[in-house]
């Protein structure tokens, strides 16, 4: 047996400068997918803390002093949460757009322009994210 010149994972990914569009799309898709899964569980965990609010009096709910409303309001006061929300939107939008791209790839449509459709998803994600910033950050300062 010859000895293997094993570049390993590190070697693979230190070539990132040479990666082509399709490879980047794959990496981003994986990454955003995991972020969304992480978000999903955080989302469930955080909202579960507000469950007692379901047993609260109507008056308390209307006054907005129940545990659910309080949790949301206090979270939304944090600048960090607002910024994370923008990030979440970016991640979700990219995952959707690239998911559509992958759907087309699976259907065998426009495989020659797969790199351009990746760039398009990136640009569109950027545009939507930037456009959303005012809405998300309004009143946070």
């Amino acid at each position: 047996m010859s000895q293997s010149y094993d570049r390993g994972l590190i070697e693979d990914f230190s070539r990132w400068r040479e990666f082509e569009a399709g490879m980047w799309a794959w990496i981003f898709h994986k990454f955003t997918g995991w972020v969304l899964i992480g978000y999903l569980f955080t989302h469930i965990a955080v909202l579960s803390t507000g469950i007692p609010a379901s047993g609260a009096e109507t008056a308390v709910l209307q006054a907005g002093t129940d545990v659910y409303t309080q949790t949301i309001v206090s979270l939304e006061q944090l600048l960090l949460v607002r910024i994370l929300e923008v990030g979440l939107l970016a991640v979700a939008v990219f995952h959707m757009l690239n998911g559509t791209r992958l759907l087309l790839v699976d259907l065998g449509v426009g495989l020659e322009s797969q790199d351009r459709s990746f760039y398009a998803s990136l640009v569109l994600t950027g545009a939507i994210t930037v456009a959303s910033v005012p809405t998300f950050v309004a009143g946070a300062f």
């Binding site: 000895q3 293997s4 399709g22 495989l111 797969q114």
Partner: protein
């Protein structure tokens, strides 16, 4: 030269006797002298070449991966630098041949046809899988870094073990099979023009292994058939002359656990294939074929 041959044989015999006696023979002395002169000449030639290379208008700087498991001092992988005078139309393979012939005859790499036909010189050039004989120097940034194909065992320098790649190719039965023979013994089995067009690109594969080496999925899953093998399967599965039964058999091979479904459409193989085969497209089409044949409700 030829006249010297018998003389050398004599000397060899003589030296044996002398060596037994423990005294350096005349022959030994002469041979040592000859060796020394040859080494001197080689040095001279090397210096000359280096000078010429330096004087040339444009020299290429190569960084070549070196490794030799059989020599103790070379077991540690290293990079050697060579300067090669540029010539118009020079390919990566040309520079390697120059470096080997001029500087270091132990530099090892595979090559044969030098025209992108035999598929023996796929390498990792400046971070990408390239066919050395098809890659123009002018298209590359200097210094040019040349390494053996990633995700394969290195045998020596730029030579990698291709056995695994060939095994995967064999696994898809890359030869024509049919149960629908034409009548008449001397009858030709013709293919329609449209069908030929359909498989045309897939027939171009030269078994260079660049695609397999570029694929992250193949790197992580040794059993994955890989782009080239699936493309081979495509070439025959799409050939109408093979008939339905054989096609079913082929689809069964490619849709097993480590077949087409491993592909995550990174497009790396399609980018690196020196024969411009739309590999991802073919893999995707086979995926659809596999689904279609499994979803037949009638």
């Amino acid at each position: 030269m030829s006249t010297q041959i018998p003389k050398e044989t004599e000397e060899t015999e003589g030296s044996k006797a002398d060596a037994e006696a423990g005294v350096p023979s005349k022959g030994d002395v002469r041979r040592a002298e000859k060796r020394r002169r040859a080494a001197e000449k080689r040095e001279e030639r090397r210096a000359e070449e280096a000078e010429r290379a330096a004087a040339a208008e444009h020299t290429i700087e190569l960084r070549v991966f070196r490794y030799d498991p059989d020599v103790e001092e070379k077991q540690e992988p290293r990079f050697d630098t060579y300067h090669v005078p540029f010539e118009k139309g020079m390919t990566v393979l040309d520079t390697l041949i120059y470096a080997r012939d001029t500087y270091d005859s132990s530099l090892t790499f595979r090559h044969s046809c030098r025209q992108a036909v035999c598929g023996s010189d796929a390498m990792f050039v400046n971070g990408g899988q390239k066919l050395a004989c098809k890659t123009q120097i002018v298209d590359l940034e200097e210094p040019i870094r040349i390494e053996p194909l990633p995700h394969a065992d290195v045998r020596k320098d730029l030579v990698v073990d291709m056995e695994h790649f060939y095994d995967q190719m064999e696994a898809v039965e890359p030869y024509f099979q049919t149960d629908e023979l034409p009548e008449g013994e001397l009858e030709e089995q013709r293919q329609s023009r449209e069908n030929r067009e359909k498989v045309k690109m897939s027939t171009r594969c030269i078994w260079c292994g660049a695609c397999m080496s570029s694929c992250n999925v193949a790197a992580g899953d040794n059993e994955y058939l890989g782009p080239a093998a699936i493309n081979k399967a495509y070439r025959f599965a799409m050939d109408e002359r093979e008939g339905e039964d054989v096609k079913q058999k082929r689809l069964e091979i490619i849709e097993q656990e480590h077949g087409v479904w491993r592909c995550q459409t990174q497009f790396s193989c399609t980018e690196v294939c020196p024969k411009d085969i739309p590999l991802t497209e073919h893999i995707q089409e086979l995926k659809r074929e596999a689904v279609k044949s499994n979803l037949k409700f009638w």
